[in-house]
Structures are given as structure tokens and as C-alpha cells.
């Protein structure tokens, strides 16, 4: 339950942060969520990763669909992704997720070191 909550909150608040902050707002959000919802570091990392991954990949997929994959196809060809729209959506999710995961990991230690 905590795990699921962490994922959902990370995704939701990251989205909101994206309305006001630059892209790295996701790090602040993921760190804060992990500090507030106490989980083991591994789970915190995963929750942070999945939260942002789902948000970023989800948004990208949604945008891509409405765009008929016109731009994703081109950008995926500029990057070494062979013009594959799916690949660039996955990479988008992965990069965001990595940042979210590491930030959440940090946050989980913060919480733990507070109680010490």
C-alpha cells in the first residue's frame, strides 16, 4: 500500500511540479515523498523510479499518440535510436525514472537518518 501510494504521489506531484519548476523538480518531489513515506531504500528507489517513469513515459506516449508520432520518429532518428518512437518514449521514461529513483533513494536515507 505504501509502495503504491509512493508511486502515485510521486507521479502526481511530479506532474504538478512540472507546471511551475524546471524538469529537475521531479528530483525534489521524489526525494520529499520518499522522506515522508518510509520504505526500505530498495523499495523507495523503485517507487521513485516507477513514479516518474510512469509519468514521463505516460505523458510522452499520450503526446505521441495525438501527434501521430511525427516528431518522436524524427527525434529518435537524430538520436541513435533508429527512428523508433517506442524507443524514445522508453528512454524518456527511463531517464526521468532514474533521476526519480536516485532522488527517492536519497530521501529514504534522509528519513532513516532522522529517526536515528
Amino acid at each position: 500500500m505504501k509502495f503504491l501510494t509512493a508511486i502515485i504521489l510521486t507521479a502526481l506531484l511530479s506532474f504538478i511540479s512540472g507546471l511551475f519548476l524546471p524538469w529537475w523538480g521531479i528530483a525534489i518531489v521524489a526525494l520529499a515523498i520518499a522522506a515522508m513515506i518510509h520504505q526500505k531504500p530498495g523499495k523507495a528507489f523503485l517507487a521513485g523510479f516507477l513514479g516518474v517513469f510512469l509519468l514521463w513515459a505516460g505523458l510522452a506516449w499520450w503526446i505521441d499518440m495525438k501527434n501521430n508520432s511525427v516528431l518522436s520518429h524524427k527525434v529518435a532518428a537524430l538520436l541513435p535510436l533508429g527512428g523508433n518512437s517506442f524507443a524514445i518514449i522508453a528512454v524518456t521514461g527511463f531517464i526521468g525514472g532514474l533521476v526519480g529513483g536516485l532522488a527517492a533513494l536519497s530521501g529514504s536515507f534522509l528519513r532513516a537518518s532522522k529517526t536515528n
Binding site: F15, P22, W23, L59, I63, D64, L71, L78, S106, F109
Partner: protein
Amino acid sequence: MRILPFAISAILTGGLVFALNKQWGSIPPMGKFLSPQQGFWQNAEPANKSFDADLKFPDLKGKAEVYFDDRLVPHVFAEKDEDLYFIQGYLHAKFRLFQIDLQTKAAAGRASEIAGPKAINFDKEQRRLGMLFAAENAMKEIEKDEQSKSLFTAYTNGINAYIGSMKEADMPIEYKLLNLKPEKWSNLRTALLLKMMAKMLSSGTESDLAMTNAKAMFMPDELKNLYPQVPDSLVPIVPKGTAFVQPGIKPIPPASADSIYLSRKDIATAREIDKPDPGNGSNNWVVAGSKTQSGAPILCNDPHLELSLPSIWYEMQLVTPTSNVYGVSLPGSPFVIIGFNDSIAWGVTNSQRDVKDYYEIKFKDKSKKEYWFNGAWTNSTQRVEEIKVKGGKTVYDTVAYTVFGPVMYDENFQGAANEGKGRNLAVRWTAHDPSNEGMAVYHLNRAKNYDEYVNAIKDFTCPGQNFVFASKSGDIAIWQQGRFPARWDRQGLYIMPGEDSSYMWQGFIPQTENPHAKNPERGFLQSANQRPADSTYPYFIPGSYITARGITIENRLAAMSGITVNDMMALHGNYFNTLAEDARTVLLKYTKETELNVDEKKYLEVFRNWDLQASPDSKGQTVYSLWRFALEDTIWGDDFAGMPNKDDWPETQTLFEYMLRDSAMKFADDIRTPARETLYDMVTGAFKKAAGQLNAREKEGLEWYKFNQPGVYHIMDKSKKDLLPFARAGLHVGGWGDIVNAVKGSHGPSWRMIVQMSSPTEAYGVYPGGQSGNPGSRFYDNYLDQWVQGKYNKLWFMRDGDRTDKNVKWVMKFKGE
């Protein structure tokens, strides 16, 4: 002891965020770039995006509406001129921001800010050519006149209004790729855009440096054969037989011209880095009602420029209570450049006239502070150009300005040449002179008849253009308009002495004496960059003329009657190779067929049976082209060893006319061999070489489009390799620079327009691109396929009553407060 793991993971997180927020080499900050809410995903425009908007800007004086049709062409209805051009600026910025930013930075010699150190020499040359100097002079002129200043300023305000309202997430993708931000607009930048066009069309129309080298290598009579002023087959713009008035000015050559100018054998040490494409040119023509099926005149224009995405043109309509004009505009400048209104239509082709000369300067010393002029040391003006470099130190370059103009080449800079001591060359260019071409176009947009058209264009000084004209009242006309120096014979062909005023331009050709024609008996007029008049025109008028297309167009129009719009579309797409028609006779004559093997004979048959069409699948055009390239290499290569740039060699037109005239043509001999070669040897040898190349490409196919390789590339991609996903290459189109359908690689008809002056006006147009500069928009290149297929869009000339028409897809409403 969780502090340590926290510190480590926090540092890792911070490090990752830092790395993803930084540009590494040419890779953009990937965190920013991939963010769905900030990065490139925000440029992935939904296919069903609505362009409706309700906008308020304090600069606006009244209310205005922009009606978009389904092609995203904006039809702007404003109450006042200022608002009209404010909105034009807003729209240019909204749809083409990166384009206007990049183009004007390049024009100003600021490419290094974007491309880094590799662009420094390009920027130096731009500054030394006086591009910024020219723009500053233009801007002073623009702001001198109350009305002009207010219109240009409104345009600038419109662009800045858009930039100011744009969120970072909405920035064009190119900024995100380059990790740059757009720069605010100013009247100076509009002036720079206009000077960019001036450079494109009037800075490569002279070949003074190359010709100075040719003069060092050849005798005067040889030069006349290699670079004739009037080609044998010329069909001039002004119909042959037209009488010209006595010249209002008769320049007199200085006494020293023969000794220190014409006979001098010093080579030009400098070489241009960035010379405009010699193919820059165009076609236009107009047919009178006497020759059309409808009885109304038809006007056509297709300007030939570098084809890019986004296109150099942006289609739009501009309407106020007192004016209504439709056509293409140049993002970066207000007004409609080519188009039509309620009463008239007009189009332009480049005059190709030489309006730029070089003068040799003698400085007192390295400081360049003084130069010898009219018997005394004269002070130069020193201008220090500051060139900012991305990822490098700012470069400073001091340029001396003389009575002629900036000293473009001196011992610190010889352009593309890196030879030790170089000649100091000042450049005299009409683009430097104060003028306000913009207001000429403003008045042309509103002209209602022939007299108003002539009045409007007479202040258009640089770059000189052939303005074709048609009116609803039935007039047709053409005017080669520009400010052209009055030259004595051969003045300005070569570098001239600059130590006194005796070689300076003695005046300009009076405007009324510019070549022009109105309502000729024969019922049509045309221009395709050829020499405007035959040798009876009483002035020396050198230029980089292109002869072949004018011949084709003239022959077609003369033969046609009951002309329809479809006939004009067919003429735009005409692939007939006029030059090859004559060339074939001479090439076959000099081929020693007995010396050919089986394969070679096969190719010769292809050539012999060829229908003379440069169509996309034509193999004959391929055989002809490879053959003539090889022939030019072999005939000129030895004689022009001192001039390695093939663009400077004699024209293909010249070669074939020479061969037709003179079978004992001396240049046939290869001066590197002891034997004495003849045209038979050269032509046959060239054919064998071409046959070898054809053989090697037989497997991929010899269809012409595979050699011509038509393609349209992103404006940032000069190499045509770095941004291929944003390009459209491998287009199935034929053509060449001397064919009416002048597609040559990534160069060609950047806009095709046909306007029939009936009531109501019937107009068609197409360009190889789309209204949006966003590669993520469905409007990025949506006209390209039509253009390839020779299809056109019907242009919707909206009127007040059409505001509720079902063709209106989106509406932008503007108001002041």
C-alpha cells in the same frame, strides 16, 4: 549512520541532475530535452490542435482578426496599418521564430555564436563585406521617415510580443537542441534580413576576383571568347528591336585604363568564403488577354532559391479597410514580397546585374589608419568588429573603411585563400547605400495600376529585380529596376586601382532608362535572369546572366494561344533542355564513333534518341550531363589550372556556342601534353570518361533524379547530413539550373505562383514546405508532395464578407486593451 548513504546517494542524484542539465559537446541537456512537460515533447503538436486565440497587447491600436484556412495560411484583417504589421510580426515569430533568428544572425556575421569556432572566418567575411554596415545604413533610412518608422517598429513589436509571451516549454525545438534562447527583435534585424536578400541576389553577380585572375592568364581577345558579354543565342527581356533613348550619362574611362587596369597581370590573392549560389535566379512571365482563353492577363512567377525547411517564404493575406494583398512574405520583414491585390499582380526575378566592385588600397602602414587617395594620405574610419564565439574566446577584427567602402580583404584576412601577402581590396557595393526597399514594397502592395506600380518600384535600389506586372484593366509590363552604376566599357570587370577617384563610378544609370517594356504587340513578356537587352542598349551592363531558360520560355509563349491556367502550370513544370538541343548537334559531330566500344555505343544511342527532357526518369539527361561535365573538365582544366574553382570557368552556354562557331577552337588542345588535341579528341575522350561513370552506376539505375538528388534540408543543416530526419531528400523531380523547372539539388523554385486577372481573381500557388517551422507539426512540410507532383493550391483571396465562411478553420482575435 544513515548520513553516509544519504550523502552518497544525494551526491549521485545531484551529479546526475547536473549532467542531464548540461550540454555535452553537441548533445543537448538530456534531462531538459526529454522532459515531456518542458522538452521536445512539447513541440510534438497534436494533429487536431486548435489555433484559436484571444490576445491582448497594449501596442495594438484597434481590433484585428486572423482567419486561418485549413492550410494554416493566415488572412489578417486589421483596422490600421500598424496593427496589420504588428500581427504579421507576431505570426512570423509564432511560426518561424528560429528561422528569423538564425538567418539574421548569420547575415550579421554572428554564426559563431551558434556554430562555434568553425564559423569565425565566415563571420569575418560577413562583417568585412559590410553586412552590418549596410543594415545600419538601411535602418537609418527606415527610421528617417515617420510612416516607415512606425510600420517597421510595429512589425518589430509584434515579434517581441510573441517572444515575450512564449513559455520556455513552447520554444522551437531547435533552441532546445542547441541549448540556446531566442533573441529580441529590432528594426536593425529587419534591415539585416533585407540585406541578407541583397547579398543572396547581388553579391555573387560579379566575379571580379576570378576575372582578375583570368585577365592574368589570357589575352583580351581570348577573354572576349571565354566570357562574352552578349551570348549568341540571347533572347533579351526587353523584346529585340525596342528602341532605347540616348544615354543620359556617358562615363569616360581614365587615361590610364589600358596600361594599369586592362593590361595589368597581377592576380587577385583573395577568394570569397561564402559566395551566393550561382543558381539563385528565377522565372517570371506575363501574358496579355489577347493570348489567353479568358481574355484576362495571366502572371506567373517562380523564384529560384535554396530550398529549405522551413521555406524562406511564408504565405499570407494582409487586409485593412484600404488595402488587400495576398502573396508570400519573407519572415523577418513586413509586407508581401510577391503576390497580388484587388487590381494588380506582380512577381520578381533577379536582375543578375553586377553592382559590386573592388578597389585596391595602399595603406601607409600596418595600422591601416591612412590610405593613399588623390595625392594625399587620407584617414580611414576604423571599425572594430566583435565576434562572439560559442565555446571560445571573443575574436576582434579591425576593418578599415575608405571612401569606396570597407576594405574587405587585407593582410589580416584573404577570405578562403591563405596565401601570404595579399592585396588590400575595398568593396564598393550598392547595398551599402541608403535606401528603403521596404517602403517600395509597401506601396507596391497597394498599387492599383501601371503608374502606381512604376512609382512604387522606382525607389527599389538593391538587389535589382525584374518586376513583372499585370493589371485587371489589361496592362502587362516588365521593369528591370535597381540602382545600377553607369560604367565605361569593361569598368568593374576586374579589381580597379583605388589610389584616386578616376576609377570610381561616375554616376548611376537614370532610373527611367532602366530596361523596361509595356503592352508589347506580341502580347507577352518574360524574364529568366537573362541579359535584359541586346547590345543596342547604350550602357555596359555586366552580370551573371543565365540565358537558356529565357529561350525556352520565349519559344513556348510565342507558340501558345488561348492560354489557360493549366497551360501555365505545365510551363512551370517544363523540363525541355534547350541548351542540349544545340549541344547534341555539336557533341555528336565531334564524336569519333569508330573508337567506341559496345557499352559506349549503347550510351550514345540513348543520347541520340533522347527526347531532350530533363525529366526525373530520363537517362538521356544523365548521359548528357555527365558528358558535358567531363567535357568542361577536359577542355578547361588545363587552361584554367590557375583558377581551380569551376564556378569561375566559362559558362556551358559559352562553350557550346564557341564550339558551334569555331571548329578549330584553340582551347581544345590540352596544353599539358606535347600532342595537339582537337575537338574530336576532347569530345570523344570526355564521352568515354562519362561512359565509364555511367557503367559504374548502371546497377543503381541511371534515372536523372538519382544524379540530381533533389532534396529540401533544414535551414540549420548546411552540410545536408547532420539533420536528415528534419529533411526530405530523394525527391522524384527532374530539372537543372538551365531548365525552366529549375530544380538542381537543394535549389529550385521556392514558390510557384499563377495569377489570372479575371473577376474574381483566380490564383494558384505552392511551395516545397509548409507554413509551420516546427518539425513536430503536420504543417511542417505538407505542401512538399504537391510541389513534387506539380500540383498547386487554390489561393483564397478573402474579403470582408468571408469572415464566416466555412473555409475558416481557426480565428485569432487581437485587441489593444
